[in-house]
């Protein structure tokens, strides 16, 4: 059957993909959501993991054998990076959502650049990414370093 164009033209979930076409703030929105969902999944898993304590040392050690593996360490490293990015970017968002750090409205002139997309709040995104990378490296040194 021939596919006739859909009247509904909303981008849907596809609109969340390819965030790079609109600049850094769109990328940070996408990462904030991704890390949030990832951290929620880790949180639920962590609560389940620690509940094995209630069944005594054998159950706990069995759980440790499952999680203290190279794959487990890699996941934990990812979690460290995600939580650092989500927290630092979250602080930036709390300020910007309250209208702080965005500049004052005025009289727009060519080339009509938006003042809210200024480098002061944009740098918050970069700081979040850099801190996440640093935290991941430190985490790797602790987890894989083996003290």
């Amino acid at each position: 059957m021939e596919k006739v164009a859909d009247r509904n033209n909303r981008e849907g979930l596809k609109g969340w993909l390819n965030p790079g076409r609109y600049g850094w703030e769109r990328v940070s929105y996408w990462l904030q959501r991704l890390t949030g969902v990832g951290l929620l999944a880790y949180f639920v898993g962590h609560i389940y993991e620690t509940s094995s304590l209630t069944q005594g040392p054998d159950a706990w050690n069995a759980m440790l054998e499952l999680t203290q593996t190279p794959m487990g360490h890699l996941i934990l490293m990812l979690v460290i990076g995600m939580s650092t990015y989500h927290s630092v970017n979250g602080i930036r968002l709390i300020f910007t959502h309250g209208g702080k750090g965005l500049g004052k409205p005025g009289r727009p002139d060519y080339p009509y650049d938006a003042i809210s997309l200024n480098y002061r709040q944009k740098s918050g995104i970069w700081i979040a990414l850099i801190l996440a990378a640093v935290a991941m490296l430190y985490g790797a040194s602790v987890l894989f370093g083996g003290e």
Partner: protein, 282 residues
Amino acid sequence: MTEQVIEKIETMDKKRAREKHEKEHPKSSVTLKIYRANRLAGERAHYDSIEVPVQRWTTVLDALLYAKEYKDASIGIRYSCRMASCGSCGMKINGIPRLACYTKVSELEGSTITVEPLANFPHIRDLVTDFSQFFAHHRDMQPYIQNEQADIKDMNKLSEFMQSPEDLDKFLQFSYCIKCGLCYSACPTVATDTKFPGPQALSQAYRYFIDNRDTAGKERTKIVDDRHGIWRCHFAGSCSSVCPKGVDPALGIQLLRGHLLGFSKNEKKNAELKERLKREGD
């Protein structure tokens, strides 16, 4: 030796100038890849490729109108002023919502330009979309000054709101909105949330909220304080990055949210309504 160095520098300079000149006038023709779909005629959605001659100053709208005039008269396009003032010719150009009259072919990369209808608006035909829900969201924000003192029925009185330039600057840039819909098309929340009013409506809510001739601030905050209202904006900033008039809707929305969160105390002092002239016979 020095002469050789100078010659070398001259050759390099000439090469650089030539490359720059070539960059400015690279194309004498482009291929327009136009989205075509006519649902009422049962036509399948497809892209038509049409070659169009261009000059340094040719805009995408010029190219489309050339294609419509000389190659295929059935292309559906909406346009009017051709000078980024009416907001009619919004469309997706190479994947990003832009005004066709405000986008020069020379500022786009590649020799193929993909032109599609604006996303997030119900599709009518080819490049034409339905703006009724967009306007309905705007109307929901009560986009007019509400002030009981201003008696518009008494035509004998001529009064003026004493608004200073500083008061004006607080909302002026948001009043420059031409309702082109590019921001609505770029917003990631509008992409999935059918009840979200969109950046245009929300920034107009701020425009009237912060205007000190308006006294309905509390009611306006009630309108946007909703499960699908201002709280579903996450400052992805795409609206402001595509706005052609420098309205910066993201700024308006975050400033309004600042008032809702208590970050900004409402220091708005209502403008005094002063009687200026009395007509004769009073």
